[in-house]
């Protein structure tokens, strides 16, 4: 969360080890006021955004659940979240695929829109990355991708904003090739997913429609996710607190009378296995992506003092409680409190460091 560059962080640590460190700490101390509130607000906001984003992704995945109505009538089904994230490039949130026609739909979900321009730009960038890495994706999913459509999916409340933006930009510089499609989700009215076809200024109605007529018809009517749902524990973009709670809930048992094993003792290989299972992470390359998620959980846990190494192969959950209920409550609370404290510290350090450099410009050059 700190806006200090890695070089600046190094410099800060270096100064700490010198007599001038005292002045640096004094400066940092002056910058602690209000940082708790700022860090708290940022943490809660990030968590809320991540949850809203996950909700959108899960509704779209559920609408296209294999075995569900949309899949049965159109052949398009949910295959994976975050396609190509394993290559580290800019990627979409969902890959929907039709194994019969080999058509793919790449969906970008945006749960809030400060700037429609950024959302559309993100789609274009992810689309470029897809085309550059198409062969990798085809190898990974074990099939050819004959054609692709790109969709921006937003909550119904912000559809108009997106439509207006597209109208403006397409007027000025109409994009070559197929236009961006818009899906809207209404979480509150039966989790309804719908194709939005009324982008003003699009002369040809099919600019807003899918090439597949059946899919267009079904989505234009709106599809309610009222029954069958796809279950995803977490994805590469999920909030670390959610990822952690899911891992803890699975791997930590409740102490039973007569049990000698410590229920809070987790085997590292079990954590990796859990994160690398596509049934939990809903990604075609879960075996590659999983270990990274597991590692992030472990490193973060150690840094926040929630996980302590216990031998080479195990970790101990350093949280109070005997029942899973208490352990989970405490884990979530401790994670939040410690992450906020860490952020507040870093915010104070940033402010203090900058003020220190201004005051003592000469002392700063330790690079």
């Amino acid at each position: 969360m700190s806006k200090l560059t890695p070089e600046e962080v190094k410099e800060l640590e270096a100064i700490r080890g010198t007599p001038a460190g005292k002045d640096l700490e004094a400066e940092i101390a002056k910058h602690t006021e209000g940082k708790d509130e700022q860090a708290t607000a940022a943490f809660d906001d990030n968590l809320k955004r991540a949850q809203q984003h996950d909700a959108l992704v899960k509704i779209v995945a559920s609408a296209f659940a294999p075995g569900g109505d949309l899949f049965t009538t159109t052949g398009f089904g949910f295959l994976s979240t975050d396609p190509l994230v394993e290559l580290g490039c800019k990627n979409f949130d969902l890959l929907i695929f039709n194994p019969k026609t080999k058509k793919a739909i790449l969906v970008e979900c945006k749960s809030s829109l400060a700037s429609p321009g950024t959302a559309v730009a993100d789609c274009r960038e992810s689309e470029k990355a897809f085309h550059l890495n198409k062969a990798s994706l085809e190898a990974a999913i074990g099939d050819n991708i004959v054609s692709v459509e790109v969709v921006l999916c937003v909550p119904a409340e912000i559809t108009q904003k997106v439509a207006r933006y597209l109208e403006e930009t397409e007027k000025v510089a109409p994009a070559a090739g197929p236009k961006l499609k818009i899906w809207q989700v209404n979480k509150f009215e039966g989790q309804a997913l719908q194709l939005f076809t009324l982008v003003p200024g699009r002369a040809k109605p099919f600019d807003s429609q899918h090439a597949d007529g059946t899919l267009t018809r079904k989505l234009a009517d709106g599809v309610k996710v009222a029954g069958l749902e796809v279950l995803i524990q977490f994805g590469p973009q999920s909030h670390p607190q959610e990822v952690g709670a899911s891992i803890v809930a699975t791997l930590v048992g409740t102490a039973k009378p007569g049990d000698t094993a410590d229920p809070k003792r987790m085997r590292i290989s079990d954590i990796v296995a859990y994160c690398s299972d596509q049934r939990n992470v809903a990604h075609y390359a879960a075996a590659t992506v999983g270990p990274k998620i597991a590692d992030r959980f472990i490193q973060e846990g150690k840094q926040l003092g929630l996980l302590k190494p216990d031998g080479k192969e195990h970790l101990l959950l350093a949280v109070d409680g005997k029942s899973l209920r208490t352990i989970l409550t405490n884990y979530r609370r401790e994670f939040r409190d410690r992450a906020i404290a860490r952020s507040a510290r870093r915010l104070a350090e940033e402010g203090g460091f900058r003020a220190f450099k201004q005051r003592y410009p000469g002392l700063g050059s330790y690079a």
């Binding site: 659940a65 695929f97 979480k187 029954g227 899911s246 049934r279 809903a282 899973l324």
Partner: protein, 358 residues
């Protein structure tokens, strides 16, 4: 004290549970039975043979087989008693019929149902009990309630004149219980959890929300009719439960196969409207009922709730809710006990008027 004996039923070959109940209606009268006759209703996913095997594993012995009815005996260091048991084969409803004491011996039957993995005691929703009373009163205007317990459920939005936010329980004994219950409902928004109903010259019976019917005297047939209703309600419950499913779908492309996890929920339609402001009470209710909350996300506008919990028995599932309904999505083979527990949780902490969608 004279030892209690199970009420007598001669050796007969009963074709099914309803024919046993017809026999009881025709032949059993209050004077013949020590204590009151207690009927304990439960649900099971086990086959009849499996159910009997499980009972025997838990200390019940089969004394006699009377066709579809079994005469069981239970003996432990603390207690011993006997009971008849039937199972409706098409709906999974089981009924225990005993005249042993409600406070001493009957709890063992409840304990068996509660702790068996594939069984659960039935509970009568408060509105169902109210309907039973209303129907009896319609047919017999002199119907009285002489003993009742009524409570205001935390999730209740039923109208209450006085301090509607207070959770409360009333216990009442008196000859004007029916009127008093109405007055308490009006003033305090409480609903009955158990009552003893006396229809002079006709029947005296007890109905307890925890799935227990009691016959004191008069026409046993009336009690058995109420039991029939409970059996229908249970059958509906099992059907709703059986609509839920957990399935790992194999998504196939030309060269590979990917597991996609799907879940089909059991749905409860609410009588009241849920709002974002109710989320804290729901969170508290989950905690009160012993659920470990893995995650809980809620959004306002009207209401969107998505939670993942682990029950006391270690069953994990997702809860989705909006302003009008609550859904339970199993994460693993659906488990009857977990489902019934969750159903009870919704009645207790969210909406006592919630109904299963079949």
């Amino acid at each position: 004290m004279e030892p209690i004996e199970l009420f007598a039923v001669p050796q007969k070959d009963f074709a099914d549970a309803p024919s046993f109940r017809s026999y009881l209606a025709a032949h059993v009268q209050a004077g013949m039975v020590d204590n009151a006759l207690t009927l304990v209703v439960g649900l099971t996913k086990r086959t009849p043979q499996d159910f009997l095997d499980t009972l025997q594993l838990r200390g019940f012995k089969i004394k006699r087989k009377l066709g579809a009815v079994h005469h069981l005996e239970y003996a432990s260091t603390e207690t011993s008693f006997a009971t008849f048991v039937t199972q409706e084969t098409d709906s999974g409803v089981v009924v225990f019929y005993t005249n042993f004491r409600k406070t001493e011996e009957v709890p063992k039957i409840k304990e068996f149902l509660e702790t068996d993995e594939h069984s659960y005691p039935l509970f009568f929703r408060p509105y169902v009990m109210q309907e039973v009373l209303d129907q009896l009163a319609d047919q017999h205007p002199e119907t009285q309630v002489i003993d009742f317990t009524a409570k205001r459920y935390p999730g209740s939005r039923s109208l209450a004149k006085l301090r509607p936010d207070t959770t409360r329980t009333f216990s009442y004994w008196g000859n004007d219980g029916r009127e008093t219950l109405q007055e308490l409902e009006f003033n305090y928004g409480v609903l009955p959890t158990r009552m003893i109903v006396d229809v002079p010259g006709h029947v005296k019976l007890g109905i307890d929300g925890r799935g227990i019917l009691t016959y004191y005297r008069g026409h046993l047939k009336t009690v058995l009719e109420i039991l029939g209703r409970a059996v229908d309600e249970s059958a509906r419950t099992i059907r709703a439960f059986e609509g839920s499913r957990f399935q790992v779908f194999a998504f196939q492309t030309a060269g590979r196969e990917f597991p996609i996890v799907t879940s089909t929920p059991v749905q409860l339609r609410l009588q009241r409207t849920l709002a974002f402001t109710d989320v804290d009470a729901i969170r508290q209710g989950l905690d009160d009922h012993g659920y470990a909350v893995v995650s809980l996300a809620a959004e306002e506008g009207s209401l969107y709730l998505d939670a993942e919990v682990v029950s006391k028995q270690g069953q994990r599932f997702r809860i989705k809710a909006n302003d009008r309904s609550v859904r339970m999505l199993p994460e693993g083979t659906p488990h009857l006990g977990s489902f019934m527990e969750f159903y009870e949780f919704v009645i207790d902490s969210v909406d006592p008027g919630a109904e299963l969608v079949v």
